[in-house]
């Protein structure tokens, strides 16, 4: 437990943000009467940005936050580096209480340990692409040659070699988005905050960048808070996913948990059309071997054996080559469960 706690990089506890002049009144009313988003808007003319959000991100995780437009994703991610002050709640980043940091310490933290990609790029229009990417390093006071080296390297990571001496306005939207990504990577931060970084890209480049990004974050051991409105992307990238609705986090879990066990109808709607083949594993659908009753002609000793951690995709491959049900094994090779063909089909349909 203690180890776990040390490994937590980002943590929000009961964070609330209410926008508007009468935010504190509204907050008090929310606390005492528990009124909802609509009532807050009606009675106080205030907008609930995020409501009672708590989550923690462990070192090396890619934590995806997913939700529809206006659900408060951008607002939430801005709390982590305190671009937005919470109306109430606690925020911890890299073991420090962000709300208690002095302005200097906060700036230091932003400059050295956090990289951020913005939904709307937010490049500096009067600086070249190179100088944009080097901006975080410039703030830190790095030498020019170092800035140039690093920015060149991170531009090539996102596939923008040869564009370093252009201005952002000469680049397409997707290219600008990649400049934003390169800028966040350039400062070599511990924590990456990414607000829909790939949303403006075409599917091919997006996939390519997703792969690149996963490899990179694995290899550089960065902790990432990744915002997206695309569940496929969240599932592809996310170690864990938080689903937001109207400023609240309605479910947090691994992609498999989300897909196999949606917390409510809202989440169920999302996951309905998601392919479960790579998300659901044998151990989820297997029948324990002790409870399995072989039907006529079945002989478990003839069955193919696979690890219980393989996904459905793999199970299908195995099952098509045999008439017997598939037997699953644990790490030491003992038989633990059975997956019949009926059960497999049901698993493909329902994800459980």
């Amino acid at each position: 437990m203690n180890d776990n706690e040390k490994d937590i990089v980002i943590e929000l506890k009961n964070a609330w943000k209410i926008f508007g002049e009468r935010a504190s009144e509204a907050m008090a009313a929310v606390e005492s009467e528990g009124i909802g988003k609509a009532e807050v808007l009606e009675q106080y003319g205030a907008v609930v940005g995020i409501a009672d959000c708590s989550f923690s991100v462990r070192r090396g995780e890619i934590f995806c936050i997913m939700g529809l437009s206006g659900s408060g994703k951008s607002t939430l991610v801005r709390h982590v580096n305190r671009l937005i002050e919470p109306t109430s709640g606690e925020i911890y980043l890299l073991g420090e209480d962000v709300m208690k940091l002095s302005p200097t310490a906060l700036r230091e933290m932003r400059a050295k340990r956090i990289g951020m990609v913005f939904q709307h790029m937010a490049l500096l229009p009067h600086r070249s692409v190179r100088d944009n990417v080097a901006y975080p390093l410039e703030i830190r006071g790095e030498s020019k040659s170092r800035r140039w080296d690093v920015s060149q390297h991170s531009l090539s990571l996102v596939g923008l070699d040869g564009f370093e001496d252009r201005f952002p306005r000469e680049l397409s939207g997707g290219m600008q988005q990649r400049v934003g990504l390169a800028r966040a990577l350039a400062s070599d931060p511990d924590v990456l905050l990414m607000d829909e970084p790939f949303s403006a890209l075409d599917p091919l480049i997006r996939r390519q960048l997703q792969d690149q990004f996963m490899a990179l974050s694995d290899q550089l051991h960065k902790t990432t808070l990744f915002i997206t409105h695309d569940l496929d992307e969240a599932i592809r990238l996310g170690t864990r996913i938080a689903i937001m609705k109207d400023g609240r986090i309605v479910q947090i879990g691994t992609p498999e948990e989300i897909v196999t066990n949606p917390a409510d109808d809202y989440v169920r709607d999302f996951v309905q059309n998601i392919s479960k083949l790579k998300l659901v594993f044998a151990h989820t659908i297997q029948t324990p071997i002790s409870e399995y009753k072989p039907v006529d002609g079945e002989d478990l000793s003839q069955s193919p054996r696979v690890s219980q951690d393989v996904d459905l995709d793999y199970l299908i491959d195995v099952a098509t080559n045999t008439t017997q049900p598939t037997v699953t094994t644990d790490e030491s090779g003992n038989d633990v469960g059975v997956v019949s063909k009926d059960r497999l089909l049901q698993g493909i349909r329902d994800g459980k």
């Binding site: 700036r107 913005f118 937010a122 500096l124």
Partner: protein, 512 residues
């Protein structure tokens, strides 16, 4: 056929129901307004939706419903109509002609008496006096006829008044609902906009009307209204006393702040001297080459050519020294404007409150005729170049302040946010992000400031600043048209030269 292939998809869109919100907006008589406003929104036209309340009550309706602009517009227009009516009904239309006739008759009568006396004494003038008297009597008769004719036109005024009044009410009744619909739309965005039917507003309006209408009618329709309505009944002493008090205050301040004022003078003087050394005292070929090269390096070859041409004009017409003096004056004024104006602009872009206070002051600086503040400036700083520059600064500084503030406010907040997210300090954000992005606006302000400074050289020369302004002033005194125009053109060329050089630097950056 086309209808079949393209079903009307908009038909099935559910209508939004605004009746609750219109009801909240209109308060009293809400059913009527729900109906009419919905209908206006549906058809985009007024159809024949007469607003009877507006038709009957006119401006009072406008006020009660919170349409204050409309209230004033129609109050004044209806007053005009009522004045015509009043003139027609009880106005003394021939009054002025009648008075004239009376006077003529009286003079004629006097002359006749004189002629009578002269005739008795046997004077020669008797005859001519009698003749003049006769002429005067004829004129008086004519005036009486005209007065009667004028008095008989009363029905014209009456009809004009009635027609105007009816037309006004017609227009108001016809358009009231449409205007009220606009008010409703505005209210949806800003709930502070007046809504509903307010007794309080109605009372205020009635009080205004009760005071305004009778007084105005009286003033315009009665031929000799009481004195206090025509002239504000105040004692002349208020004016003289206030002026004297101010005068005393100026004298005392000038005395008390002598050190400060002298300090300012010395500061400005040193900048002026330095620039003068460079531009006025140096030999003219050196200065000319210097200016052209600067124009070329800082701006472009085109600006350099323009500069050379302008300098030729100035040189050949013998306005060299005067021009250089003016350039120094304007250069120093613009320098101070920018030096003080840009930081002020930055401050005002940050602080809404400071800007709210400063805005009327800036308006004042731009609208007060320079002659007004020349007087205190002379009181504090005497005459010469320095007060000339100060007057120029007061006049020319507002644009650079305003446009700096405006430019900084228009910097996209997303870009600033990104800089914050990367840990930039406020200072770094200002210098590295905000000011560069605001540069086009700031440079427009600088351009305005330079041009306005040059337009002040003539006025500054009134208090002893030399240069081209003085040339123009002399030309004015001797009505020397040619000289004035030549000197005026020289001012223009100096202005353009300065402006192009300063702008050129940034133009070039933008072209990159």
């Amino acid at each position: 056929m086309a209808e079949n292939s393209q079903p009307d998809v908009t038909k099935d869109i559910p209508k939004i129901d605004l009746s609750d919100s219109i009801r909240e907006f209109s308060g009293q008589n809400s059913d009527y307004y729900v109906d009419t406003l919905s209908q206006i929104q549906a058809t985009g036209e007024n159809l024949n939706l007469w607003n009877k309340a507006a038709l009957l009550c006119g401006p009072a309706w406008c006020a009660a419903r919170g349409l204050w602009n409309l209230f004033w517009l129609f109050t004044i227009a209806e007053l005009v109509a009522l004045v015509q009516l009043g003139k027609g009904i009880w106005g003394d239309l021939g009054a002025s002609k009648m008075a004239e006739a009376e006077q003529l008759t009286k003079r004629a009568h006097d002359l006749r008496l004189e002629a009578g006396v002269a005739g008795v004494t046997g004077d020669e003038s008797a005859e001519s006096s009698a003749e003049i008297a006769m002429n005067l009597e004829k004129a008086a008769e004519l005036a009486i006829q005209q007065a009667q004719a004028a008095a008989s036109t009363w029905w014209l005024y009456l009809i004009a008044g009635i027609v105007l009044y009816v037309v006004l009410r017609y227009v108001l009744g016809k358009f009231a609902n449409r205007l009220y619909e606009l008010q409703y739309s505005a209210w949806r965005l800003n709930k502070k906009i007046a809504s509903g039917f307010s007794m309080q507003r109605l009372t205020i309006a009635l009080v205004i009307l009760v005071i305004l209408v009778p007084l105005t009618l009286y003033r315009f329709t009665v031929s000799s209204p009481v004195e206090w309505l025509v002239d504000v009944p105040v004692d002349n002493a208020y004016y003289t006393n206030s002026a004297n008090a101010l005068e005393g205050w100026f004298d005392r301040t000038a005395e008390a702040g002598k050190g400060v004022f002298d300090g300012i003078t010395a500061g400005a003087q040193s900048v002026l001297d330095a620039m003068e050394l460079l531009l006025v005292d140096a030999p003219w070929p050196v200065v000319a080459v210097f200016l052209v090269v600067i124009a070329w390096r800082v701006a472009s070859i085109r600006v350099a050519i323009f500069t050379a041409a302008s300098l030729c004009y100035i040189g050949f017409l013998g306005l060299w020294e005067a021009s250089m003096v003016s350039i120094v004056l304007v250069g120093a004024a613009a320098f101070f404007c920018i030096l003080i104006g840009i930081p002020l602009g930055i401050w005002f872009s940050r602080s809404e409150k400071a800007y709210a206070v400063a805005r009327p002051v800036l308006d004042l600086m731009q609208t007060i005729p320079p002659f007004v503040y020349l007087i205190p400036i002379i009181a504090f700083f005497g005459t010469g170049r320095v007060p000339g520059i100060l007057a120029t600064i007061i006049f020319a500084m507002p644009p650079v302040i305003r446009l700096t503030a405006l430019g900084l406010r228009q910097v996209p907040s997303t870009v600033v946010e990104a800089a914050v997210a990367f840990g930039a300090t406020k200072w770094r954000i200002l210098v590295g992000v905000e000011l560069p992005l605001a540069t086009p606006a700031i440079m427009t302000g600088v351009n305005q400031t330079i041009l306005m400074s040059l337009s002040m050289v003539v006025i500054a020369s009134l208090i002893g600043a030399k240069g081209l302004g003085q040339e123009v002033l002399t030309a004015l005194q001797y009505v020397a048209k040619g000289q004035g125009i030549l000197a005026g053109l020289a001012i223009l060329f100096c202005a353009m030269m300065l402006d192009r050089i300063v702008q050129g630097r940034f133009q070039r950056q933008e072209d990159q």
